[in-house]
């Protein structure tokens, strides 16, 4: 502004000075040309009219100054302001408010044009932002769809990056790993599977490396979709078959599509199949040898019988051998057939099927036989565990005989829950499936025939009977009359999905938290040779934990009564990967403590002791940095058990109490609740070990940017700084 002022002042003063110079110069020149008498006359005039001339000069000056001032504002100042406004808008894309057009018509025109350009730029920005948001939404949808797809797969799928770090797994894989866990009740397999965890805790590294090499070699030979398989035993003694497929770069990528970024493992626990196969082999082998021996005896006896000089007594003896061996072989064949049938029924593939879908399929099948089929009473919430093919065949077989032999034209299908008659309030274990018709009922003998004869539907026939189908489902079948409606029906009792005892790897569980089982950002994260201490706090894999104890003095006999932990991987809290276990301290719990943590002595009775729990927790925490609030306290408890349990916690430890003191040195309190309140972390479930661990984890994540602002970026820096804080001197 100062420059503008000077310019304006100069512009205003210049015409005054010019006028003064012009007046004085012109006057002096005129004076020099005058004769003496003329000078006297002019002097007399100036003496009386001089002021008038000065006034005239001043008026002229004022007029000139006014005109110049206007010109200056219209052309110079307005142009400068326009330049400023234009610059302010070009510097930042956020400055979108309009320019105020001012000055000359040309300048106002320029201003208006700039405004039009700004509007166009703003529109373009908005369109771009909308497109980006749309694309991001699509990607999110695709990811969610992929996650949903993975979650619903009945096969266990794990995706790893080249370091073997897990970046996606599905519900079935989680169950599979639970079965592999050496402490399934404690860690539930979470010590094996988890985002960022190493697959090499389950598989030997060289197995995976060998499979990858195979794939690489086949890729180089031009194979389009190379896969590799391997079978391995796990530490828990299970037999696992893994099929590996590479994750390759997108075909459009500059480096080409052949570069492998990671791999997908599809896992099958084949322990049971293997055992069944072995049992079958043993059965077959035993049968073969037994049959060889019998045949040997038979052949020898028959050949002796062919001897021409055989006496009657010997003939009788050889005939007895033949009879005896023939009986033995018959018996053996019967046993084999029985074992085979039993084996078949345990191997029978029962799959989960939505009840309404099954009814729809049955309806279509029965209609192809010429029946008119209705289905009004179908419980749409039911999921059956059935072999749909054989069950449909059983229904069709019954329908076909109703139609063909009793001229029944219309049938009805019903599906509902079969509750125990003794205890109607109990959980339903089975569903009833009814095939109902109005009209003629057949005799019990007829029904038994239909049930036990091999199933037939026109030219189609099966080796199985309806009864065998029912037996293979572990179900029941009967015939009943509804006299009031003059109706009759066949009733099948069938297993419901998920109603079969304890969780096994054939059980299919619908996961509630499926979208959290992946993080593709981990593809890019490699174990870059950087030492742990040099890694940024945000990229550390952490186990955030807390313990509840009987008291504050581990060296005087206080014990851990609960351990809770959760994980942070790639800067995100992984709530679905938790560890929570009560521990029997094998001593009393003081009432003062119960008031805080709420763990009564009765709750820990019968729970595992620290000897079992600590190794499981150690496995859960492997390969991660431990994080705790006032971690020194908890670590002291863990360390005192190291000798007894044989596990050592050697990984780095971070303490949120110390980190808070570093990040917010002017705060008085660094208690967990106070920090949580300051950082806006909601506190729920405090004073349970897992509740506190989760709060601590969220506090830790919020502290990371504050620590970065204080110049603490890496694990090493955080540990070093924490050592120096006042709190570090506290000893337990």
């Amino acid at each position: 502004m100062k420059r503008v002022d000077k310019a304006l002042a100069a512009a205003l003063l210049a015409p005054g000075l010019l006028l003064a110079l012009f007046g004085l110069g012109g006057g002096a020149w005129l004076w020099a040309t005058l004769a003496p008498h003329e000078r006297d006359t002019l002097a007399a005039v100036i003496e009386t009219r001089g002021m008038l001339l000065v006034l005239l000069g001043l008026v002229l000056w004022a007029l000139a100054a006014w005109a110049l001032n206007r010109l200056y504002h219209t052309h110079v100042a307005a142009a400068a302001r326009l330049l400023d406004q234009a610059r302010s808008r070009s510097g930042s894309t956020d400055a979108t408010h309009a320019i105020e057009p001012a000055g000359s018509a040309a300048l106002r025109g320029i201003g208006e044009s700039l405004n039009e350009l700004l509007r166009q730029r703003k529109d373009l920005h908005e369109q771009m932002a909308a497109k980006v948001a749309e694309a991001a939404r699509h990607i999110d949808q695709e990811r969610a769809r992929l996650a949903a797809l993975m979650a619903e797969l009945t096969q266990a799928v794990v995706v790893c990056n080249l370091d073997g770090r897990i970046l996606l797994y599905n519900q079935r894989a989680r169950m599979q790993f639970r079965a592999l866990s050496s402490a399934p009740e404690l860690a539930g397999g979470a010590e094996l599977i988890g985002l960022g965890r190493s697959i090499y805790s389950v598989f030997e590294r060289r197995l995976v490396a060998h499979a990858l090499e195979n794939i690489q070699a086949r890729l180089q030979r031009g194979a389009m979709h190379p896969t590799a398989q391997f079978v391995t035993t796990t530490r828990a003694g299970q037999l696992l078959r893994a099929m590996m497929t590479p994750v390759r770069g997108a075909s459009g990528e500059a480096k080409g599509g052949d570069e492998i970024h990671g791999f997908v493992l599809m896992l099958d626990n084949i322990t049971r199949e293997f055992e069944a196969d072995s049992a079958r082999d043993a059965l077959l082998h035993g049968f073969t040898e037994g049959t060889r021996a019998s045949l040997g005896n038979l052949q020898a006896a028959v050949e002796m019988l062919e001897m021409p000089d055989l006496d009657a007594a010997m003939r009788e003896r050889f005939q007895a051998v033949v009879r005896d061996e023939a009986q033995a072989m018959t018996q053996r064949v019967r046993e084999l057939a029985a074992r085979g049938a039993q084996d078949l029924s345990t191997r029978w593939p029962l799959e989960d099927m939505h009840g309404a879908d099954f009814i729809a399929a049955a309806q279509r099948r029965l209609e192809t036989l010429g029946l008119r089929v209705s289905a009004h009473e179908v419980d749409a919430a039911l999921w059956l565990k059935v072999d749909s093919f054989s069950l449909l065949m059983a229904l069709a077989s019954l329908g076909s005989r109703l139609f063909g032999e009793h001229d029944i034209q219309r049938v009805e299908l019903r599906l509902g829950v079969a509750r125990s008659e003794r205890d109607p309030g109990s959980d339903p274990m089975r569903a009833h499936l009814d095939l109902l018709w109005i009209g003629q009922a057949m005799s019990t003998e007829t029904v038994i025939g239909w049930e036990t004869e091999p199933m037939r539907i026109g030219a189609d026939s099966s080796a199985l009977s309806v009864r065998e189908v029912v037996q293979r489902h572990g179900g029941e079948f009967w015939f009943e009359r509804e006299r009031v409606r003059h109706a009759a029906f066949f009733r099948f009792l069938l297993p419901l999905a998920g109603a079969r005892g304890p969780l096994d790897d054939n059980t299919f569980v619908r996961g509630e938290s499926r979208p959290e089982y992946y993080d593709f950002d981990l593809f890019a994260q490699t174990e870059s040779s950087r030492a742990l201490d040099e890694r940024s706090l945000a990229e550390l894999s952490c186990t955030v934990f807390d313990t509840e104890t009987t008291g504050l003095n581990p060296s005087q006999g206080d014990e851990i009564i609960q351990i809770g932990a959760t994980r942070i991987v790639a800067g995100k809290l992984r709530r679905q990967e938790t560890f929570e276990q009560l521990v029997d301290p094998q001593r009393d719990i003081p009432a003062t403590g119960v008031a805080i943590h709420g763990i009564e002595p009765a709750m820990v009775r019968g729970q595992p002791t620290i000897d079992t729990v600590l190794p499981a927790f150690h496995a859960f925490a492997q390969d991660t940095v431990l994080v705790g609030h006032n971690a020194a306290f908890d670590m002291r408890f863990l360390q005192l058990k190291e000798e007894r349990t044989g596990v050592r916690f050697e990984q780095p430890v971070l303490d949120t109490l110390l980190l808070s003191a570093l990040a917010q040195p002017n705060q008085e309190s660094h208690g967990l609740e106070d920090i949580a309140a300051r950082l806006g972390v909601p506190v729920m479930g405090r004073h349970t070990a897992l509740g506190d661990a989760i709060v601590t984890a969220e506090v830790f994540l919020k502290l990371i940017p504050l620590l970065q602002a204080a110049g603490i970026h890496t694990l090493g820096q955080a540990r070093e700084a924490a050592q120096k804080t006042l709190y570090a001197r506290l000893q337990y």
């Binding site: 060889r292 045949l295 005896n297 052949q299 006896a301 050949e303 005896d324």
Partner: protein
């Protein structure tokens, strides 16, 4: 000279046929019902040939054969192993412990008689 042949088998339904077959062929036939009895009878009776079953109570045919081969005085006894175990590994194992020949059940009695004659011909 009449050769002594020992049938060592716990299965009466095969013993009866073998006994009749070899008796008819002119051999002196002895029968042992388990592995230990077989060893004892080989020691006392010194048969020229043993028809040795593999799966027998007390001592298996493999054990009996190994014991024979380890004993200086019994080493010369010819052994024809008879078994329902017909896999290549079973046969290898039988020959491995010192059997001179191995026949898998079922077999033709003619072939067996020929084999016995052949083995005793070589022995005499």
């Amino acid at each position: 000279m009449t050769h002594k042949v020992l049938i060592a088998d716990d299965e009466p339904n095969i013993v009866i046929s073998l006994e009749y077959l070899l008796g008819r062929a002119g051999y002196r036939v002895l029968v042992a019902r388990d592995g230990q009895q077989a060893i004892d009878m080989i020691r006392s009776e010194r048969p020229a040939l043993v028809l040795l079953d593999v799966m027998m109570p007390i001592k298996s045919g493999h054990e009996v054969c190994a014991e024979l081969r380890a004993d200086e005085t019994l080493r010369g006894t010819r052994v024809l192993m008879l078994s329902a175990k017909g896999r290549a590994t079973d046969i290898d194992k039988g020959l491995g412990v010192g059997a001179d020949a191995y026949m898998t059940k079922p077999f033709s009695t003619k072939e067996l008689a020929a084999k016995v004659a052949e083995m005793l011909g070589a022995a005499s």
